[in-house]
Amino acid sequence: MIKMTRREFVKLAAVTGALTLMLGESEHTFKTLTAAQSKTQVKYIPNLCTMCANRCGITAKVVNGKVVKLDGIPHHPANNGKICARGQSGIARLYNPDRIKAPMIRRDKSKRGTWEGFEEVNWNTALDEAAKKIKRYMDEGHPEKIAVISGWWGCAVYKPYVAAFMQAIGTPNSAGATINSCMFPGAFGWLATLGGANHAHIISDLEDAKYIIALRRNLAGVGGVPHSWRFAEAKRRGAKVVALDPRMSETAALADVWIPIKPGTDLAFLLAMGHVLVNEKLYDEAFLKKYTTVPLLLNSETGVPVKVWDDKATGLKKYLVYDLLQKKAVSHDEALNPALLGEYTVKLEDGTTVKAKPAFQVLVDDLQQYTPEWASKICDVSSDLIVKTANEFGRTKPAVIDPGWHDPRYENSLQTHRMMAILNAMIGNIDRYGGVSFNVPGREVNLPPPPQNRYDVVWGKKHGMLPLPLPNYVPLYYAMTKGDPYPIEMAIVIAGNPIRTWSGDKEWKEAFKKLNDVLVIDVLPQDTTMYADILLPDSVYLEKDFPISHAEMSLYGAFETAIAAINPVFNTKPEIMIFAELSKRLGVYDKFINSLAKMLKVDAGKLRRYFDSEGIRGIRRAQAEAYGISLDEIEKKGYVMFETKEELMDTMPYKKPLHTPSGKVEVYSLMLAKITSMVGEDPMWSPLPKWLPPKVMSEYEKNKAPNVFYFIYGKSPLNSYTHTTDNEMLDSLLRPDYIGVWINTKRAKQLGIKDGDKVKVTNLKTGEGGVTTAFVTEAIRKDTVFLNTQWGIESKKLKIAYKRGGVALNKLWPFQYARLIPGMLTNELLVKIEKV
């Protein structure tokens, strides 16, 4: 080792290691450096982490114009001062040499899918050419030929900006993963029951719960800080945790009980829990009577509601129930003691009578077949454990089944989530401490009906798919490749990566090659950017301002904002500025501003004035004025609170109706009843939950072989999206269990696979897949393999990620989708494992 004098050391510190040696030294060297340090300028700037969709509040420490450390904002309503490894590693994203550093244009479409033929241009040229392409469709009168595809920014707080741009150019067509391979159709189960989607509107009050059931989600491992810290807090306060997972996830590792359930059979487990709850009368009768739809009378013969009608005053649905006090059928809001059980003769207005049962009686009858013994065989879980879990859930107060997040997995995903919501409702934990609750957006859910000319709505009418509030990408493929229902010829991709993340790797590559024009806005040269004709580099969150939005991952009412910590490192622009500049070139700037003003509920004149003079900060100023919050305070702190948890809790459905058709907790779903009346009965959308086996269960039995497995997948705490795979810090933290495929020791042995071996993972049906490493472990079921995501990056410009290799999820995921509500059935497949 070299011996250094103090003088040499100080010199070295001043010249080379400015940051390295100045921050975080021992006491001794620290003192020697005070002179050098006095020249440094240190700033702390609030921002919002976008390494994943949770948007934790962060403070960037900036030393001499360089971001050196990120910390959580103390007491921030979402993350409570903590950030995860990804959040810390935002710095490695910011200074990632792999970033797209300047706008690029490629004029040869045949080179799509490669990195060939790009030429660096200045912003003016890039924006002019981009505008020219868009303008052609507008001039032809066919702006609908343009589809705007976005990553989670399109569905979260970025939505108003993307939507204003779409309105300005006049296309109704957007696309994202939400409906197909993100939260739906699981989220539809929550929407139908509680009028909001899980995680976007509905979150559990974990920290106050005494009993937590986690399924279909690794809450502790990859829930994101807003969920993980509350999970850990609940545990410290003594909550008992039960985790259903075929693999021992981080959540299962920390749980009191790990239930390694057979993949896709959670619905059977939940139905059997329901069986126990109704038979042991472990439900909250008063709550069910007053706040849910279970008193609703169903015709004993046909099973359909006896009478449902509109209440003109409230816009809500009314229905008949049987009042035990008045001894007759009355409108639900006139009943003093509505019946839950029994069968009644109901006299109708036309004088006829029918026999009818409250929906609860029908549910109880239905649940009789779903005994713990029945479920035990399906789930591969002992019936005693099911009985015990149901009893504890029904008797421990407060108890909660966490709503989860991602679930396009099985044909039964919708009903699984319905049953999760229903069990929560049965114990009356809705909007209660320690139960299932709503964030502020969830209290004001306002999902406008879809535009009737949107490609998926038009296609859906032809091909039997439900029009959903958010677009569904299945028809986009047909629109792009076959012009069905009408042609889509241009894609504008905003921070999304459909080529790597949407089901059907081949299909999307084909579709993107067919397009006339592809414009991509992104930070990193991802797989989709390889298909661009024009590539516009986006700034990283630390380099840009963001206006004001709600703190979504929180049970508090709070506004938050993000301030640029430094100027852009490379020649990049924030996408809001890109939208504005394109709108100006297209002559639709007025429209852009006016639409934005409407969505943000701010004054359009002010918005324009402030935005023109101050850029994104001007939007924030207009919002602060309109929302009555101090600009100074929010810019200093990063957030302002306006409602406490105490003020928000215990409101819905008690003081305010839910956003369901009836305003009640729809244990009997009027929305699903309507769908049934339109398209016929099916266990997938039955208004009261019914068992529906995952398709993959019978396929597994048919294809049983030593190298064939059920397939499950998930993220690691280091990886949220494809963009987190190319991060030097996160890459340096990877462990074997975060990279490859988990396979049970005994099965691996049979196949001659040792830990760390290279293995080929392929979809049994399509033969598609890739090579990765085996993580051989006892911590997974014998019939199941677990794949870490999001690997298998093909863009060689993502040097770190490309080197890691791995299997891309969407090579295993075929372009297959569920009926009516098109989840991509991402677990409904078997894989073959072979040693390479």
Binding site: F30, G72, E250, L733
Partner: protein
């Protein structure tokens, strides 16, 4: 007098690695396995389905009787007035005696510094300014608790004096000021 210490609650550690990244950035360590001030090894025991998966955050134990300090020939390694074990990098000759003497494997060579490095409890850069160490502040699970072991009102004091938080390998006799809570996990299931 202050005596800094840390309690790590294994029942709360999610194995998420936020602490490692926080430390790496805060203290500008190399981004490399084996050259970090803290790490979180994972252990999986047992046979399916009776399996335990455990994450055990590790760092310098800031021993009251630090063998690394005892063997340091130059006085570069020392324990400061608040009980924190530190290295004076400019006095370190890189002989690695301390690396060998440390029974907890907490030290490594930082080539860029031409010296041995290790966890400092973020003493100068944070703790002396009234902030918690970087790993503690960022800990998602709230598993790392930092404080003054001499202050009867501190959480660390209470956890240690109740006997809940214990040293790793107490038999080594170095009196670590980093303690662990091993929560016995109930396991039910089939």
């Amino acid at each position: 007098m202050t005596k800094y210490g840390m309690v790590i609650d294994l029942g709360s550690c999610l194995g998420c690695g936020a602490c490692i990244a926080a430390c790496d950035f805060e203290n500008q360590t190399p981004w490399e396995e084996g050259k970090r001030r803290t790490h979180v090894p994972e252990f999986i025991f047992g046979e399916y389905p009776n399996v335990e998966r455990l994450f055990v955050p590790r760092l310098c134990m800031h021993c009251e009787d630090p063998p690394c300090v005892a063997v340091c020939p130059t006085g570069a390694s020392y324990k400061n007035e608040d009980g924190v074990v530190l290295v004076r990098y400019d006095m370190c000759i890189g002989c690695k005696y301390c690396v060998v003497a440390c029974p907890y494997n907490a030290r490594y060579v930082d080539e860029r510094k031409h010296a041995i490095d290790k966890c400092t409890f973020c003493y100068n850069n944070r703790v002396s300014q009234g902030r918690e160490p970087a790993c503690v502040e960022s800990c998602v699970g709230g598993a790392r608790i930092f404080g003054d072991l001499e202050d009867p009102n501190s959480e660390v004091y209470k956890l240690i004096h109740s006997g809940e938080a214990v040293p790793l390998r107490a038999d080594l006799g170095t009196h670590p000021k980093v303690r662990y809570i091993f929560r016995r996990k109930k396991r039910e299931g089939d």
